[in-house]
């Protein structure tokens, strides 16, 4: 069977897997991860001294430490294969289906990295901006929402785009926990047609297409969020 033939035969299933698993897992996990990341970042930059915040800070540190410090594949295996062995009175406490385990792990992993990105972006906003907002009588939540986070977004955008692109590629690891995502489908075709080079190259091209699209989106977003800076530079 010619390489071209293999491509024609396997492309529909690969695209279906992309639409059904790769893209949704990426989008949902990134959205959840981002929400988590903002919350963790806010906890970590908080200057409050009360016990509640101290405990939260400890938890946030622990969470980032674990999820940045261990391989994503290991995390997936623990959540999907490992957690059901956590038993009480002989009954599993937590049993997650592959989809839930995947989303949960990808979200937590992305959130750990993105929280550091967002924390650094917030910290890079000059103290003078906080003071100007305080002096106008703004409360801290209002200031974060209206003044600090919009500026931090511009700074966080390139590293967050990196995380997003990594996540798309990392969803291929979901094949390890029985999810029939795009890479898993390509493995099946590699076995079916005895041509791993063509099958795996084809799936690589599909990942590349997705990440290229995203790079374009990143460029567009960066231009949009940097308008107020670039105008100044032209001027």
């Amino acid at each position: 069977m010619s390489a071209w033939h293999i491509v024609i035969k396997s492309l529909p299933s690969l695209l279906a897997a992309m639409l059904k698993y790769t893209i949704p897992i990426t989008l949902v996990s990134f959205a959840l991860g981002l929400i988590l990341a903002v919350l963790v970042a806010l906890v970590r930059i908080s200057t409050a001294k009360n016990w509640g915040i101290r405990v939260l800070k400890g938890l946030a540190w622990f969470y980032v430490w674990i999820f940045r410090g261990t391989p994503l594949l290991v995390q997936l295996f623990i959540v999907f294969f490992g957690l059901p062995y956590l038993k009480m009175n002989g009954h599993p406490l937590i049993e997650l289906n592959a989809w839930t385990a995947g989303i949960l792990t990808f979200s937590l992993n992305t959130g750990a990295y993105a929280s550091e990105t967002i924390r650094a972006a917030i910290a890079s906003i000059p103290q003078a901006q906080w003071e100007a907002a305080y002096a106008l009588g703004m409360s801290k939540p209002l200031m974060l929402r209206r003044i600090i986070l919009p500026q931090a977004t511009r700074i966080a955008l390139p590293p967050l785009s990196n995380s997003f692109i990594s996540l798309i590629k990392d969803t291929s690891l979901a094949s390890g926990i029985t999810i029939i995502e795009m890479f898993q489908v390509s493995q099946q075709f590699a076995a079916l047609y005895y041509n791993p080079l063509v099958s795996y190259s084809l799936v690589a091209v599909l990942y590349l297409a997705l990440t290229t699209l995203l790079s374009g989106l990143q460029t567009w977003l960066e231009r949009r969020t940097s308008r107020y800076v670039q105008i100044g530079q032209q001027y």
Binding site: E131, A135, L136, G137, M138, P150, Q151, R227, Y228, G232
Partner: protein, 248 residues
């Protein structure tokens, strides 16, 4: 009336304030002068709770606060909403247009109607000579223009007192004049102003009261005429430095 009494602040580096008591009369202009590092700016920043005092008393309208104890967030907000401040480095919000900078706090802090706030902001921008820059971003403006936007942004909150922290120190002489003219108008209209400045000619022209700060202490507090025309030796030396001319 806004006043602080027996204010102490130790930064642990030799700078700070020692037992400072100053009253800032309403509808008049108080100018704080003194050598760099003397504590002028620190004094001004304490008025707006941008610094935390070690001890002292803060009295402003119905607020009477013991600064040795932690001041609640509500008290700080209540004080800040009666005060406006213009910073040396303008501190405009770079991601917002000039107009958006001015209406940001009126709309989101005071809850004013956006159309109404916009109308008021346009009026204020016209007053500071920037009606045509409403849609520009801060990065497109000169320093003098940015500082005038900052003044409009402050006035839009209708503060009882307007604080100026070396508002023209970052500007060249021409741009400085643009800003000083605006401040002068505010003083002439009998607003309550507190100005920290190194510009002695401006201080003399605009002050109803002079506060001279040195080494964290108030070394003079009173009449500008006495300060400029009949100074003691120390003040005379300080003022003379301002009239230094290089010999050929």
């Amino acid at each position: 009336m806004l006043r602080i009494e027996n204010l102490n602040k130790d930064f642990g580096n030799g700078h700070g304030l020692k037992n400072v008591s100053v009253a800032f009369p309403e509808h008049s202009t108080t100018v704080i002068v003194g050598p760099s590092g003397s504590g002028k700016t620190t004094l001004l920043r304490h008025l707006d709770f941008l610094e935390t005092a070690d001890s002292g008393r803060y009295r402003f309208g119905d607020q009477d606060l013991d600064l040795a104890k932690p001041v609640s967030r509500q008290q700080v907000l209540a004080a800040r909403r009666k005060l406006g401040i213009v910073f040396q480095s303008y501190n405009l919000f770079p991601h917002l247009s000039v107009l958006a900078n001015v209406i940001e706090a009126p709309v989101h802090v005071l809850g004013q109607d956006k159309a109404q706030a916009t109308a008021k902001a346009s009026e204020l921008l016209a007053q500071v000579g920037l009606a045509d820059k409403a849609q520009a971003f801060p990065a497109q403006l000169s320093g003098g223009q940015q500082q005038r936007v900052a003044i409009a942004r402050m006035i839009a909150m209708q503060p009882q007192y307007m604080l100026f922290d070396e508002p023209t120190s970052a500007l060249d002489p021409e741009l400085e004049v643009e800003v000083l003219k605006v401040i002068q108008k505010l003083a002439a209209a009998k607003n309550s102003l507190v100005i920290v400045t190194h510009n002695m000619a401006f201080a003399q022209g605009v002050a109803d009261k002079i506060v001279f700060v040195e080494d964290g202490e108030v070394a003079y507090d009173g009449d500008p005429d006495q300060f400029f025309n009949h100074p003691n030796d120390r003040i005379a030396k300080f003022l003379a430095a301002g009239t230094f001319q290089a010999d050929k």
